[in-house]
Amino acid sequence: MKFYDFKTNTVLILASVCLAVTQSCKPRTAQSAATGDATKSFVAPGKYDEFYNVVSGGFNGQVAVYGIPSGRLFRIIPVFSQSPESGYGFSEETKPMLNTSHGFVPWDDQHHIALSQTKGEHDGRWAFANGNNTPRIARIDLTTFRTAEILEIPNSAGNHASPFITENSEYIVAATRFSVPLDDQNGDVPINTYKQNFKGSISFISIDPSSGEMNIAFQIRTPGVNFDLSRAGKGKSHGWFFFSCYNSEKANTLLEVNASQKDKDFVMAVNWKKAEEYVKAGKGKKQPVKYAHNVYDEKTHTATSAIKNEVLVLDPADCPDMLYLIPCPKSPHGTDVDPTGEYIVASGKLAASIPVFSYTKIQKAIAEKAFDGEYDGIPVIKYDAALHGEVVKPGLGPLHTEFDGKGNAYTSMFVSSEIVKWSISDLKVLDRVPTYYSIGHLSIPGGPTAKPHGRYMIGYNKITKDRYLPTGPELTQSAQLYDISGEKMKLILDFPTTGEPHYAEALPAGMLMDKQQKIFRIEENTHPYAAKGEGHTKVERKGNQVHVWMTAIRSHLTPDNIEGVKVGDEVYFHITNLEQDWDVPHGFAIKGANNAEILIMPGETQSLKWVADRAGIFPFYCTDFCSALHQEMSGYLRVSPSGSNVALHYSTGTNKPAVNTQAAPVNAGAPAGTE
């Protein structure tokens, strides 16, 4: 014990000496600055990160999960794109997740993340993600980090202003980037009839408070502008939604020039509480449409896809006081609401200033009818009547703003490659840091909520250039982590990301760590082809379909010898993982499979379809290293010519009596069985 104390003291003294010595170092070389900052992002082996960072995947269609401050990649969650690694979108159970009114769509462009909220704060239940190309919204369950639901959005094209969420997760929104002829109209029109025939739409999607299930509560028909981004009001502005729109010119060609003609476009303010009243009062009209709603069931381990045929639409002409437009300089991109709900920051990406609107002043302007005419019948509020003030000369190309909860705003500047920190109250620029290079979105943990967690800020850059070891023409995407706990922002880490991240959110590790699902209880597995125990394994033929009820446990597959399959047969391997321990998935692959492997989590059943294209012996095996005898976890499937009379037979651990292979037919009368 004494020795122990002595050591402690020695060590503390040593530490103090080091401190004293190093404090005297005046000139800070680039090297010391770099290492000094690196300790802030260093998470020692075996230690955990402070935050989960849920990051959009852009053109890979998936969502990635990183640790902050280390920048380590933990998981790529398959959402809108097939994943041959897990079998998502390839297995029979998950194929329906990617069904749409256009049929099976195995890819999308995933831009934005919204984490569920209660009372304006993260509640750690779900992450929502948009599919931009074939308009969809997905819900990810944060206890499994898997996609639980995908909802297609009708009357939409380019689901960009999505998914943004209200402070109690009442709604997430989906507003269309491309206005288009509506789904029930004849869309076969000349493109230059844009002004007559093209309409915008905003979908309000309700979220079931207990199950999280999404449903389109109503849509609002809007003028044919392009919606870009959005945020819900919060606190005092709860009940409102703010959308940036561009192309108020309604151009249909060379938008780069033709949609940038006017000095101002708009922020659209939507009073959604008012919209709810109109829905209740029966002002909505039912419109025939067609869209898919796909839900994954964790008990049957199977997704189902239902096609819906109707949507309720509110027309602003029948619903006064529901929509207002606020002029906003030059093609606004991000429109972000500060933690108090009072200030709405709209970043005109071609503007020289950042206008900040005041919710209180907007309400006053509406009450006093301080309008500057109308746009397609929607009142346009006078710019000055709504304006809190402008951040003057913040930088070039302002895109997005996040907040630290201490009265500061942080705006990404695409053109001048920097992040600018400014004060919301007096609109003064406080600090600026470079980004490498051309930053798009930025994320502060809890940044879009009423209570930001602050401390860190991550910039997601569009251009990488020289930041990493080069890998040919295509480079990894570059993210940068900044410490924002002090007055000055400090770059502390570069980390590469997959896909092309757009928006991301981060939440404290403690909110998710302890509620992670570790296994699926085998007792609760109600998959129709589950084999809950080796005694339930079997092989059955139904016409040219052969169904295999197979089990996997360290370290064998049952059955592992299957005969009697014929060329042209469709074989469905239904694999049940009998393990009930965390982190013991088994994989399944068979030679010549035209789709993928499947990974089966403990207690789960997943099915892989395989077509016998030729006679022969086809080995199959477990692909996920599971034990010392993993390499032994394998089996054989025999395929005979289509006219053959080889009987269906399956077994594990029992050889049939040896036979002379010259003598045909082989053991035709052998009974099927596992013994």
Binding site: K7, C18, Q23, K47, E50, P69, D483, T551, Q580, V584
Partner: protein, 157 residues
């Protein structure tokens, strides 16, 4: 061991101070403290150990437990354990209730990580079988019913 880990911590701390001393921000130290707080180590979680006095064997057998125990066996154990004395992945169950104490069997079922870590007999079995017995997420009450089924399999009435 303890001294060694203290040294490690101290060394890291020293290193940390060395690195951040030049840092012009006061918040650095506070932040690191928070960092250490949230960055917890994760110990292996083992269920609570079942003590010999917690298991009472009675005759005649509880037939309901025997049949429940068999149902669990079919789902979660049969893949690796035969009811004869033949070894498959793990040892056959014939005679197991005569070879092992009841609480040893139940700990093996509910607490396999703990057993493989500290019980010499369990470790010997791992050397023979080479596959760690999986944790099959079986509750103590269910393990007791499996034990009843094992006794039945061993001819107890």
């Amino acid at each position: 061991m303890k001294r060694k880990s203290l040294f490690t911590v101290a060394f890291l701390l020293t290193g940390y101070l060395l690195f951040t001393a030049c840092n012009d921000q006061q918040s650095g130290a506070a932040q690191h403290a928070q960092n250490a707080e949230t960055a917890t180590e994760q110990p292996e979680t083992h269920g609570s150990e079942i003590k010999p006095e917690e298991v009472t064997l009675t005759t005649p057998l509880n037939q309901e437990w025997v049949s429940n125990g068999k149902a669990i066996y079919d789902m979660k154990c049969q893949s690796c354990h035969k009811l004869t004395d033949e070894r498959l992945v793990g040892p056959g169950w014939k005679g197991v209730t005569r070879r092992r104490e009841p609480h040893w069997i139940m700990n093996m079922i509910t607490n396999v990580d703990m057993m493989l870590e500290k019980d010499p007999e369990a470790q010997k079995l791992l050397e023979q079988c080479l596959v760690r017995m999986p944790n099959q997420n079986i509750a103590k009450e269910d393990a007791r019913q499996i034990l009843e089924f094992m006794r039945s399999n061993d001819g107890v009435k």
